[in-house]
């Protein structure tokens, strides 16, 4: 069902916030209602926004020190005893450094541990390539049993945090540091495994995005609309399990797709969508994301522009993919 009560004017005048803020708020609410919620940190209490939970529920907050592998294992043990542990760190450390522990101790047993990866994407900015997690979606979606969710703004991050706490298995939630525009509303419906159709100008091309870059996709779509190119914008917040039926309908309706994510193109959301389409309904696709390189220090917006994740780049890729559509070629040939 299109969730298209959104428009650029609506979200552009709202205060921007980070997805990690939404997560931190949700955690406190969860803590109030569910005594089994446990939060673990690896020396990053403030920056992963779990300080409020720690203050309110000190008996359910576990400081692990700089030891992400142990943190993952402890969470597995807690979950085996009926707890719902959230392990929190920067994504380059967790799941970057403790992937084996997540795979063996948590995921193979399908234990309900929630892995929260903060500071993902290029937009970590000045800290540079070591701290810019651009591989975490791939690392997590390749694991059986794992659910992978990438919220697009602070409101959705809050909803997603509450929803993943209810899943009886392992989950990965991808968060960001930077404040980004609010796209959704408090009353927007969020359901794991169901895409949101944010805007439907037409069906020339579908733009399938996830994370805060959904905003760039919306801006690009509006500008393209003014130029006469009609796109449909999808927020594909659940990368695993994919909303297969709805995505295939989008493929059939639009016949060409550009995927947009702040992640390596290899193994990310676009790859997941492409696996689905190529097996079931092959259509021309273009992929916005990191093109097999590391990032560097810099201002987030400048980095996104330099590495090809800007509004301009999305528009360019939409125009590139549209001429690959067989129907478009036919139309062009008829006109000539």
């Amino acid at each position: 069902m299109p969730n298209s009560s959104l428009s650029l004017s609506q979200f552009s005048n709202q205060k921007a916030r980070s997805t990690r803020d939404g997560f931190g708020e949700a955690l406190v609410e969860l803590g109030e209602v569910n005594k089994n919620i446990i939060v673990l940190t690896a020396d990053l209490t403030e920056s992963t926004k779990v300080a409020d939970f720690a203050k309110k529920f000190p008996e359910r907050f576990i400081e692990c020190g700089v030891a992400e592998q142990n943190m993952a294992g402890i969470a597995a043990g807690l979950a085996a005893c009926g707890k719902i542990p959230f392990i929190t760190s920067y994504a380059v450390f967790s799941p970057g450094r403790n992937w084996d522990q997540i795979r063996v101790s948590i995921c193979y047993s399908n234990l309900p541990v929630k892995i929260i990866g903060c500071h993902t994407g290029l937009s970590v900015g000045p800290d540079g390539a070591t701290h810019q997690a651009l591989e975490d979606i791939a690392l997590m979606r390749v694991l059986p049993n794992m659910t992978v969710v990438v919220p697009c703004d602070a409101i959705q991050a809050k909803q997603a945090t509450i929803e993943i706490s209810k899943i009886p298995g392992s989950c990965y939630l991808r968060l960001t540091r930077e404040v980004t525009p609010i796209i959704t509303q408090e009353n927007s419906k969020f359901q794991i495994g169901h895409i949101d159709i944010l805007e439907n100008y037409g069906q020339d091309v579908a733009i399938i995005a996830c994370g805060p870059l959904v905003y760039q996709a919306l801006v690009a779509a509006k500008e393209l609309n003014d130029e006469g190119i009609k796109t449909t914008i999808i927020n594909n917040h659940t990368i695993k399990p994919l909303d297969k039926a709805a995505l295939l309908k989008v493929a059939r309706d639009c016949g060409a797709v550009v995927t947009v994510e702040e992640h390596q193109v290899a193994g990310g959301m676009g790859s997941a969508v492409s696996e689905l389409f190529s097996a079931n309904y092959p259509i021309p696709m273009e992929f916005i994301g990191m093109q097999d390189s590391f990032g560097e220090s810099g201002d987030p917006d400048q980095l996104l522009a330099k590495y090809g994740m800007s509004v301009a780049k999305i528009k360019e890729m939409v125009k590139k993919v549209i001429i690959r559509k067989p129907s478009y070629r036919t139309r062009l040939e008829e006109r000539l």
């Binding site: 359910r60 592998q69 294992g73 402890i74 043990g77 807690l78």
Partner: protein, 277 residues
Amino acid sequence: MNDLNQVAEKIREDVISMLVAAGSGHSAGSLGMADVFTAIYFSKALNLDPKDPWNPNRDRILLSNGHICPVWYATLARAGYFPQDELLTLRQIGTRLQGHPHYRCLPGVENTAGPLGQGLSQAIGHTLAAQMDKADWRTICLLSDGELQEGQSWETMMFAGKNNLYKLTAIIDRNNIQIDGFTENVMPLEPLADKFRSFNWSVIEVDGHNIPEIINALNKAKAIFENPTVIIAHTIPGNGVDFMESDFNWHGKPPSWPEAVEALRELRSLGGKISYE
């Protein structure tokens, strides 16, 4: 020879039969830990009930060095957790007896283990859950000595020591071997007891083939309320089978059929002390 020693010998026989039938698996550690497993599951030191394997008040037994699971499976079956007939399905397709243990794949199997260094972290999670729930059960985690070379092991030692997790007991199979040779050549662990003490652990060293001594250590650990306890069990890898004992080449391989026949002959005659045929 008392009853428990006989149980341990039977478990060793099961291990040999399982490994030869499977055609792969780890002999040395499995045989070397038969006495420790017997002490855990066949004494009254811990709160375990094979007829009610998931009782919420049970003591938790976790295995970190998953590759010695043949001895875990054999002990659980002999203690009545599941039918002994199933033992010979080890490592075969469709079996519950996976090559490395999988969380709750069998009654009594508390955790997944294989890649080393992970069990003690899981055991800390169990211990913390008990603490939060004000429950009485204890958590016992069995480890190898070689796996202490994993960095995660030291993360766990720091954590448990800092938090005085007195309901946690680690048991280290100190058999001095690993795949590439003797631990002290590959990557020395000594002075092991001092290392644990300096991380705020209580240390009990035992002869890992002296069952009463092991039971005594398990009980002693229950009386320590200051910090976690590690029982360093000095064992002979391959114990009970002369041609396997203390030879690191037996770490990761099973006996051939003739070797298994020879091993069983030796175990059933108690090392030639009695004739069994």
